[in-house]
């Protein structure tokens, strides 16, 4: 026997272009929805991972714009401010502190990098404390520096690929015309560390002629310490500012929320358009088939039978659109990520758009709900048609 689903499906085949366009409309809405939810999830987890992988919960930088400091801390960059190295000792004496690590970031423009040149980030780190704080870093080749003043470099995974260097090779710091020896290459971490070139702090100070100055100090706070109280204490230090990672996260999330609201609005509009599109398609289809619906009722179909038939047609459109939209979202996740990165003031490393099964199921739920709601009016209208009125509708 022919099932009601087959009848509904074959009805949709009558106007292939119209059904197809409606499905595309729903697919686009589903695509935006999946991508958006995926972004919502991916961004936060990538940001958390980036922050966790810093290895410290607080950073002290020279006084300046806190947003700049937050960005520099996570992303690296130029236009740095300096503070005296002596602050390191001062901070390490605080009882709340478990450990501190001094850092000096320098960026050099390399005209041979990429097509039109680019910056190489050199991060001077203290070989005695930095590896301890970042104990999760693993080496693909080699190891950390042989001593605290060695003219040696440890390359992040991507930096090594970009510079095409292996352990034992020499690396030229272009602007300074100084060569350092590559002693280690890190495994991929999915963070900014992948693009960083690490050198001993003293070596960076020597190469760039910066004496006893730093760009940042990472602080690892004891587990039972009162962070708020400690922060207050740090604020009292002259010419420095303290940025806690909770603050950084909050700052970034605030910056991103504007972009999120915009994208959510677009998704909402896309969903509304697709709902109207579905209602329009099904309603037109019902009106065109009014006589047939009358015949079906004359054959003994009840109002509920007709309601079901039309509702199934709506659901087929919506589910097809949902499947295509979800597939599209998965296939274009990378592209979406590139577009989002251009929109946002700061984007963490790693996957920004994370699409997983629960998310796809959730989207399907939303799409089916759209289908059920959009189908109610046309289905109800078709179901309550009186057979004779329907049969006569175009005859007379």
């Amino acid at each position: 026997m022919i099932k009601i689903f087959n009848v509904a499906y074959k009805n949709l085949l009558r106007k292939k272009a119209r059904s197809g366009l409606t499905i595309i409309g729903i697919a686009l809405a589903a695509w935006v929805l999946v991508s958006l939810l995926g972004f919502n999830k991916g961004y936060e987890s990538s940001l958390n991972r980036d922050i966790d992988n810093l290895g410290f919960q607080m950073i002290v930088t020279a006084k300046g714009c806190p947003y700049e400091a937050a960005t520099l801390m996570l992303k690296g960059g130029t236009g740095l401010r300096y503070m005296p190295q002596s602050i390191t000792e001062q901070i390490s004496k605080e009882p709340e502190v478990e450990g501190v690590t001094a850092m000096l970031m320098q960026a050099v423009f390399d005209p041979n990098k990429g097509e039109s040149g680019g910056y190489s980030a050199y991060l001077g780190v203290d070989p005695a404390t930095f590896p301890q704080m970042k104990s999760f870093l693993e080496f693909k080749q080699g190891s950390w520096f042989t001593n605290s003043e060695a003219m040696e470099a440890v390359l992040g995974y991507e930096a090594a690929e970009l510079e095409q260097r292996e352990v034992g090779d020499l690396l030229l710091i272009t602007e300074k015309n100084v060569e350092v020896k590559v002693v280690g290459i890190l495994k991929r971490t999915g963070t900014q560390d992948d693009g960083t070139i690490f050198l001993p702090l003293k070596a960076v100070q020597k190469i760039f002629g910066i004496k006893d100055e730093l760009t940042g100090i990472g602080i690892k706070v004891k587990k039972d310490a009162n962070i708020a109280q400690f922060e207050e204490k740090m604020y009292k230090l002259p010419d420095v500012q303290v940025v806690s990672l909770a603050q950084v996260k909050q700052t970034i999330m605030t910056l991103v929320s504007t972009a999120k609201v915009m994208v959510f609005s677009i998704a909402l509009i896309a969903i509304l358009i697709s709902v109207v599109g579905v209602i329009n398609t099904i309603l037109m289809s019902v009106m065109e088939r009014l006589q047939e619906i009358g015949i079906l009722k004359a054959m003994g179909a009840t109002a509920w039978d007709i309601f079901k038939l039309i509702w199934i047609e709506t659901l087929i459109l919506c589910i097809s659109g949902g499947i295509i939209g979800a597939a599209l979202a998965m296939a274009t996740a990378k592209l979406t990520e590139v577009l989002i990165r251009q929109l946002l003031p700061y984007a963490p490393s790693g996957g920004l758009v994370q699409i997983n099964l629960p998310l796809v199921i959730l989207t399907f739920g939303v799409v089916i709900l759209i289908g059920l709601l959009s189908g109610v009016y046309p289905s109800w209208k078709a179901g309550r048609v009186r057979p004779l009125e329907a049969i006569r509708s175009q005859v007379e």
Partner: protein
């Protein structure tokens, strides 16, 4: 026609009034008639004489303004008040098979799927065998996998008739079943209906402008201005 067959349909003083502004038009005006089981009745008359309105009322597709209608002894309309829509749906499903001038086949369903369509909405034991049997009776079993667009008008009407027959109705209501067909195909459909009446014992109530088709009926009822016209009375 079965001699002394039982009355399957009885209409008493049926009236159907349409209002157009302040004007009242009686499309069916005090019609009383009865149809016996296995009878072949043809309604004829000029356009606007109320044939289609009457057959729609007899087939429970429309309600009369007043009068009584009984099917197999059961009153379905009394004083213009019909039974509930759900009950009428059941009656349409169990008693009637409808054939229209237009075939109303679903173009994306094959011939056999179109004929099976009523069983999409309700189950009947042995339905598949019945569909196959009727396709054979209609002489379209070789076309069962074709789409309506791939068959002729006469074949399409056969499919529509087959669809009207699959639920084994006791009464076939046919409104201008040959209206869209040429003379030869009209004759074929007429023969087919006559065959169903004689071999399967189906009661057939027909509306037609086609005199050749009307002549096949056991009884011809002429309508004029909504009333049954009796030539003897003028």
């Amino acid at each position: 026609m079965k001699e002394n067959g039982q009355k399957v349909l009885e209409a008493d003083h049926l009236v159907k009034i349409y209002r157009r502004g302040s004007e009242e038009i009686a499309a069916v005006d005090d019609v009383s008639l009865s149809v016996k089981e296995g009878e072949f009745v043809a309604f004829v008359g000029p356009s606007g004489s109320g044939k289609t309105t009457l057959i729609n009322i007899l087939g429970c597709l429309d309600n009369p303004s007043s009068g009584r209608l009984a099917l197999a002894g059961r009153t379905v309309v009394d004083h213009g008040e019909a039974l509930s829509e759900a009950t009428l749906t059941k009656i349409r499903r169990e008693i009637f098979g409808y054939i229209f001038q237009k075939f109303y086949l679903i173009p994306t369903l094959t011939v056999i799927e179109n004929v099976m369509l009523p069983f999409t909405f309700y189950k009947k034991p042995g339905a598949e065998n019945e569909v196959e049997r009727i396709l054979k009776v209609m002489g379209i079993d070789h076309r069962k996998e074709h789409l309506p667009g791939q068959i002729s008008g006469g074949e399409m009407q056969r499919v529509a008739i087959a669809r009207a027959l699959v639920n084994r109705p006791s009464i076939i209501l046919a409104d201008e079943p040959t209206g869209n067909l040429d003379t030869r195909r009209s004759q074929e459909i007429g023969d087919l209906l006559k065959g169903l009446n004689q071999k399967e014992g189906l009661t057939i109530i027909l509306v037609t402008h086609n005199p050749a088709l009307a002549k096949m009926a056991d009884r011809i009822i002429e309508l004029r201005d909504g009333k049954i016209y009796d030539p003897a009375q003028g």
